[in-house]
């Protein structure tokens, strides 16, 4: 049982794992249109249904400084009017054709998708291509939708001390990189977002050469290519890939936070380390970190659970999280929730002892075999969901990976040794690259 949610992005594909595909997985084709738009087709003929997604290589980390939230705000505005579609009609047309649609925004990408009968693929492609270039924004629409976004922020973050704490932790971890700014944006900056911000963001980033089309389901690649050329092919490219972002300086000082909120009933300690994300020139490092995370925190037989929950009984819950699927750096986090009568310092000390032991000895052969076996099974189970296959490829390509990177990931994971996992722990789980946070109960006034 997990008490704490670690994912912080939006919508369906929260922190998208760079999850691998089994060798005998679905048939995947990829090609590129003349205007630079990448296309991935994943065949799954079990059901006459298709998932159609367009991913833009732009997320909250690309926002102009001081205008946080515009990427996510803009995602909402994409459901407004174009020259051909009335305000709010996009989702209604999809629904009237038996489809469902939505969108999500993260640090590195913004994605739009529909699930619909396979014979309606051309319809949704036409609509998606239309709003890539022909959106018509007005002040009225922007102001009303901004209120919706503020309520969304209330619901996700301001109503939740855990959500606010996660924001404070990220802001402390990233001293210079925009990953320190929440995807939904800071409230005072959302309140100032306007039509000019939205129009500039749209004009700059929404273009076919900055987009990836993913189609999964009961389709043939040749037919998808023909439809894509018809609908997306005529769109003019921007010729401007997203800029590089400000990067982190050397981090030399461990940071600590204590946050108190009267709404907290269950304190916990969480630590985040700044670590590498997936690097195509050295994918084994991300694979080693991924295995390290599972050794530490996956299930009751993991290191943290056994030490803190079963042996010492100082915690009632523990866990870890690492996703290599980021364009720049990535977070590696662990947490512990004190058992009744235990304090946060005790739990933190016990977590540190577990890390020290793992850095010293590395994982056992049994642990490594368990994680690899579960990963192999997860790849097979994942084939049951065409939507999750589509998200996997879209998420990987949106941060600069290739289809080959995704395909090779299982082999990379298989090859990781216990010593590589130990070295990754030793090299990256260092205090200077970390933030440790305590979320605590505040005494209520009066």
């Amino acid at each position: 049982m997990r008490l704490i949610r670690t994912a912080m992005a939006f919508g369906l594909a929260l922190a998208m794992a760079l999850a691998p595909v089994a060798h005998a997985g679905p048939k995947v084709s990829d090609f590129r249109l003349d205007n630079g738009m990448e296309v991935v087709v994943i065949e799954d003929h079990r059901s006459p249904v298709v998932t159609h997604m367009v991913w833009y290589r732009v997320g909250s980390a690309d926002e102009p400084w001081g205008h946080s939230g515009i990427a996510h705000f803009f995602e909402h505005l994409m459901f407004k009017a174009t020259g051909d579609i009335a305000d709010g009609a996009f989702s209604k047309v999809v629904a009237a054709n038996g489809g469902s649609d939505n969108a999500f925004t993260s640090y590195d990408y913004t994605a739009y998708f529909q699930r619909i009968a396979a014979d309606r693929l051309g319809l949704v492609m036409g609509m998606e291509a239309d709003r890539m270039r022909n959106l018509v924004l007005t002040d009225d629409v922007v102001v009303t939708e901004r209120d919706v976004i503020l309520e969304e922020r209330n619901q996700r973050t301001d109503n939740s001390p855990q959500g606010l704490f996660a924001e404070q932790m990220s802001a402390a971890l990233y001293m210079n990189h925009p990953y320190g700014v929440p995807v939904i944006g800071w409230r005072h900056e959302i309140e100032q977002l306007n039509l000019a911000d939205a129009q500039a963001f749209y004009d700059r980033y929404y273009a076919p050469d900055n987009a990836i089309l993913v189609v999964a389901g009961d389709v043939e690649p040749a037919a998808v290519r023909a439809l894509a050329e018809t609908h997306y092919g005529p769109l003019r490219p921007s010729g401007r890939p997203p800029e590089a972002r400000p990067q982190e300086p050397p981090q030399l000082a461990p940071r600590r936070l204590e946050m108190r909120d009267p709404r907290v009933r269950q304190p916990f300690v969480r630590r985040i380390y700044l670590v590498p994300s997936y690097d195509p020139s050295n994918p084994r490092e991300a694979a080693a970190l991924s295995i390290l995370s599972d050794v530490l925190g996956d299930g009751i037989t993991s290191r943290l659970a056994r030490a803190l929950q079963l042996d010492q009984r100082v915690a009632i819950d523990t866990g870890s999280h690492y996703s290599p699927a980021r364009r720049d750096r990535a977070d590696f986090s662990i947490y512990g929730v004190p058992a009744p009568g235990q304090d946060l310092a005790t739990v933190e000390a016990a977590m540190d002892a577990v890390l020290a032991e793992l850095i010293g000895d590395g994982p056992t052969g049994e642990e490594l075999a368990r994680i690899k076996r579960l990963n192999r099974a997860a790849r097979i189970f994942a084939q049951d969901s065409m939507a999750s296959q589509a998200r996997r490829y879209g998420g990987a390509l949106a941060i600069g990976q290739t289809v080959a990177d995704v395909r090779n990931w299982p082999a990379v994971m298989e090859a990781v040794t216990a010593e590589e996992v130990r070295r990754a722990a030793e090299k990256y789980l260092v205090p200077e690259h970390s933030v440790t946070g305590w979320l605590m109960v505040a005494k209520e006034a009066g």
């Binding site: 503020l150 309520e151 709404r263 969901s385």
Partner: protein, 439 residues
């Protein structure tokens, strides 16, 4: 900016589109089978991925928790795989991981739900391990203490979440004399009081062969599936089929506010609904799609979110339980905007009750509900869940083939009749948690 009016809509026109396929029936061959040991189960063979999904739903769940022991079924579910047979919690977890199997156990108000995902290559030992958990959970002191502490932490935390607070208070008001009025996960007091004997008794009461609804989907044939069903049920008592009885409790009309120090309030609202066996259930389902079930396409979304920017989410749904039927909804909005949001929602309730829906809305609802039906069957896991749902609701094995024609048959008059019968703005029971102003 004036161009919208002058440009002819390309996509809004629907007339030229062919009607959607009736459903996924072609692709779904459901077999109604009996295992060698006599257990009834439904099977869909789907050979393309070497996995098997198993779903078992046992009738009866949290609503059978004894007085003073609310949360018992939920806690029992959390402990089924924390040690069983000869294996302690760690031993069981290792054995499951060795087989690469995934097991899920959860308690609903009316069901205990077992969900397993297994590889074909380790199917027999995976089923045997699952059978051990179902038949002989140990309820050892260590996992009992650990899971209890986790549950108590969750219960304490949920007391600060406005949506949970509002929902629990709504049910408590609506069902003062029925277990539906108690939170499924219990209270700090009731969970603290649960003993090992309670867990053992709950296990014997809740997991019985006579109350099991079973579905398998995956790369498995009927003979092997039958053997697997017998394996997994082997250690369970026969038991007697549960009888349910509709409660006479009705939600009290009116508004209750629960003070909670948060910037955004949550409201839960609703009144009596319709049983699935009611002849008006399908028309009501279509009506709800238009009023509050259709996401961004619904009237509540249009009026509350799209036009006024009052909320990120607002919705309504027909809730069907074994012993009651409700029509429920929810909205979350800033404290100072809750009063306006509730006024808008009540006005929509009244408008629908008085006038029903338009021909265009009926057309859109039919198209969505029939066209989106196949989306529920695009994975083994979803199919297995749906097969169990069909058994729970006694819909019949041909329901998937029939279902879209039931939707197509709904007329404007049907919707108008059911809206007038079902929607009673004056009967709405409303609970708001937060610090709303102007209510």
């Amino acid at each position: 900016m004036g161009m919208m009016a002058s440009v002819r809509p390309r996509f809004a026109a629907l007339a030229g589109l062919a009607l959607l396929a009736a459903g996924p029936a072609k692709a779904l061959e459901i077999q109604d089978l009996r295992s060698p040991g006599g257990a009834v189960f439904w099977l869909v063979e789907e050979p393309s991925i070497p996995i098997v999904a198993l779903e078992i739903s046992f009738a009866g769940g949290a609503r059978l928790d004894p007085e003073g022991r609310a949360g018992l079924a939920n806690m029992m579910a959390g402990l089924i795989d924390e040690g069983a047979g000869d294996l302690d919690a760690v031993g069981f977890s290792k054995a499951r991981d060795e087989l690469s199997a995934r097991f899920g156990f959860s308690a609903g108000l009316d069901t205990m739900d077992i969900s397993a995902r297994m590889l074909v290559e380790t199917l027999e030992p995976s089923m045997a391990l699952l059978a051990t958990a179902l038949a002989s959970p140990r309820f050892d002191p260590e996992p009992v203490g650990r899971v209890r502490a986790q549950l108590l932490a969750t219960i304490a935390e949920s007391g600060t979440k406005p949506n949970t607070v509002a929902a629990e208070a709504w049910y408590a008001d609506a069902f003062p004399d029925h277990p539906y009025g108690r939170p499924k996960r219990g209270t700090a007091e009731s969970v603290s009081a649960i003993t090992r004997n309670d867990l053992v008794a709950a296990h014997a009461r809740l997991l019985t062969r006579a109350n099991a609804r079973i579905a398998l989907v995956g790369a498995i044939d009927a003979a092997r599936a039958g053997r697997m069903v017998d394996t997994v049920l082997a250690g369970l008592e026969q038991g007697t089929p549960l009888v349910s009885e509709r409660t006479g409790d009705t939600p009290p009309p009116g508004l209750r506010v629960i003070e909670l120090g948060v910037p955004q309030s949550a409201a839960v609202f609703g009144h009596a609904g319709l049983a699935r066996t009611d002849p008006d259930f399908i028309p009501a389902y279509v009506m709800n799609y238009v009023l509050g079930g259709g996401g961004l396409a619904s009237r509540l979304m249009e009026e509350v979110r799209e036009k006024r920017g009052l909320a990120y989410s607002v919705y309504a749904y027909l809730s069907v339980r074994d012993e009651t039927a409700l029509y429920l909804g929810g909205v979350q909005t800033a404290n100072e905007r809750m009063a306006e949001s509730l006024e808008v929602i009540k006005a929509e309730w009244a408008r629908m009750a008085a006038k029903g829906i338009t021909a265009e809305e009926l057309d859109r609802a039919r198209r969505y509900l029939t066209g989106a039906f196949p989306l529920r069957f695009d994975s083994n896991a979803k199919i297995a869940s749906y097969l169990v749902f069909m058994q729970e609701e006694n819909l019949g094995i041909d329901y998937i083939e029939r279902r879209n024609s039931l939707i197509e048959a709904v007329t404007l008059e049907d919707v108008k009749r059911v809206a007038a019968r079902l929607l009673k703005p004056e009967n709405l029971s409303i609970v708001v948690a937060g610090q709303p102003t102007g209510l």
